[in-house]
């Protein structure tokens, strides 16, 4: 009696996976996991840097030096009044002597300071968010009012923060590229090993008329799927860590440097796709290279 073949689905042309494939999934998953953590860290650090930069750019500090008979308190009050009238300034307030002393406490100690000690007077200036006044405008207004003062618009700090943010982003991209390169190398190695171990079957496919790109496509699909699964596991694990950091640390995160937000977890979504794409490309190019050496 003849078997009815109608319900059959054709079997896979490549011989099934080997025990080493599980190890490969693990290695790719670990690489993806670290890449995901890197992405989370960069997202968080970038937000922290942006927050600091906004804070710094939204304020300025003015150091006032009294002239002539004018007391320091009077000079500071006059400076605050002058600055409050400048366009682009929301608020200007002279720092009281007590707060100024508190700022100096790390250097001068906590004992009572002599009354005649010339404590520098500071004026804190809150700038308008959308059109803040620049240091030059503040300086010009102070000079016009005859006040001897130095304006610090925090640009030095902002530059440092921007530079630090760029370095962090660059380092993260480098780490990501290294991870992707390592994953691609591992996949290429596994593809070559897979081709060699299945050489007999590949030769039969060749002789039966399979094109190189068709056979390479079989490896591309196999390793692409494998890497997608590994990327999915890795993204899920990284998401759990991110969520834990968000829940435990709240909006500020576990450290001020890495304030995790729920939206950061969206950065992990492309991980399976990127892993699959890198693996598929690596497998295809490795397979095509090796197939060319076969007759």
């Amino acid at each position: 009696m003849t078997d009815a073949p109608a319900h059959r689905r054709p079997g896979p042309l490549l011989p099934p996976g080997q025990a080493s494939d599980a190890g490969l999934v693990f290695v790719v998953a670990v690489l993806c996991f670290f890449a995901c953590l890197t992405a989370l860290a960069v997202g968080s650090a970038d937000r922290a840097a942006r927050g600091w930069r906004t804070d710094l750019q939204g304020s300025a500090t003015v150091l006032v030096r009294p002239k002539g008979e004018e007391t320091a308190d009077a000079a500071a009050a006059r400076a605050a009044e002058t600055l409050a009238g400048v366009r682009g300034v929301d608020e200007a307030a002279a720092l009281e002597r007590a707060r100024a002393e508190a700022l100096l406490r790390p250097w001068l100690g906590s004992g009572d300071l002599p009354d005649d000690l010339p404590i520098p007077r500071l004026v804190t200036v809150e700038l308008t968010r959308n059109s803040p006044a620049g240091a030059a405008e503040l300086d010009k207004a102070l000079k016009a009012a005859g006040i001897d003062a130095t304006v610090d618009d925090h640009s030095l700090w902002v530059r440092d923060i921007v530079r630090a943010g760029l370095w962090a982003r660059g380092a993260a991209i480098a780490v990501f590229v290294l991870m992707a390169g390592a994953a691609a190398a591992v996949i290429a190695f596994a593809t070559r090993a897979g081709l060699e171990s299945r050489r007999e079957a590949i030769e039969v496919l060749h002789i039966a008329g399979a094109e190189d790109r068709y056979i390479a496509g079989l490896f591309q699909i196999r390793f692409g799927r494998m890497a997608a699964a590994a990327g999915l596991f890795a993204a899920a694990a990284a998401a759990m860590i991110g969520a834990a950091a968000r829940i435990l640390g709240g909006g500020a995160g576990l450290t001020p440097v890495l304030p995790v937000a729920w939206t950061d977890l969206l950065l992990l979504l492309p991980c399976p796709l990127i892993a699959a794409a890198v693996a598929a490309l690596a497998a295809r190019s490795a397979a095509l290279g090796l197939l060319k050496s076969m007759t």
């Binding site: 003849t2 078997d3 073949p5 689905r9 042309l13 030769e203 496919l205 060749h206 008329g209 094109e211």
Partner: protein, 243 residues
């Protein structure tokens, strides 16, 4: 009487025969740096011809077939297959030439992870045909070679004879223009050998060019077809009336 290959070719040119399916011009082959196993072979196969390849073990029969089914490149000489010079044919064209060739390997070379049905269907799948389009043909052919009840069996569970028939079914399922068989009756009984020979002759009758490498003298005698005889890497052609 034996004729050398040059005489054979001269006859073709004189009678203006159609373009040969296969043509060897001073072809030699070696494995790596070893001595040549085939030396200066020159012959051609006309469309619809039927040839046996004979010779002692190690004479180069399998090597000759490997050259024809493009598993090896010659170390010297020119091979023209279906009108294409293989020395200049780009690699991307070779699969399309291979699809016109059916091969029965001496050691079967079945894909152990595929069922008997899928092994037979392999050339059709690779040619892009869908299951629905080929399942009837495959089932019919498998029934014809006596494997109708073994379609879902895995090759490891088949006997040597069954594997042989499976390999033959795979080679002929795509109705190739050129059929190559390396010892195709080596593992089957006389009755099945006779059926296999009849299948090959039937395919030949409808236009397939057939080349069978064999030690089976009885099959050669029964078929009364030309013989390409290899001896120490050199080829002689024997017409049936000459044996």
């Amino acid at each position: 009487m034996s004729r050398n290959a040059q005489t054979f070719e001269a006859d073709e040119e004189a009678y203006g025969d159609p373009e040969p399916v296969l043509r060897f011009d001073n072809v030699s082959m070696r494995y790596g740096r070893a001595p040549e196993v085939l030396r200066d072979l020159s012959f051609s196969l006309e469309p619809g011809s039927f040839h046996f390849v004979t010779g002692a073990s190690g004479a180069g029969k399998s090597s000759l077939l490997k050259l024809i089914y493009l598993a090896h490149r010659p170390s010297r000489g020119l091979i023209t297959l279906f009108g294409r010079d293989l020395a200049t044919a780009p690699r991307r064209d070779l699969p399309f030439l291979r699809r016109r060739i059916g091969v029965v390997f001496q050691e079967f070379r079945l894909l152990e992870h595929l069922s008997a049905f899928d092994n037979v269907a392999l050339p059709l799948r690779l040619a892009g045909r869908k299951l629905r389009a080929y399942q009837g043909d495959v089932a019919e052919l498998m029934a014809w070679v006596g494997l109708g009840g073994r379609m879902h069996a895995m090759p490891a569970t088949l006997s040597g004879g069954e594997k042989q028939r499976l390999a033959i079914a795979r080679a002929v399922v795509g109705r190739p223009d050129l059929l190559l068989a390396d010892e195709p009756t080596g593992n089957v009984d006389d009755e099945m050998a006779a059926r296999i020979l009849r299948l090959f002759m039937e395919l030949n009758r409808v236009g397939t060019t057939v080349v069978i490498a064999t030690h089976d003298r009885a099959m050669v005698e029964e078929a009364q077809m030309p013989v390409l005889h290899l001896d120490n890497g050199r080829l002689s052609v024997f017409e049936p009336e000459a044996r």
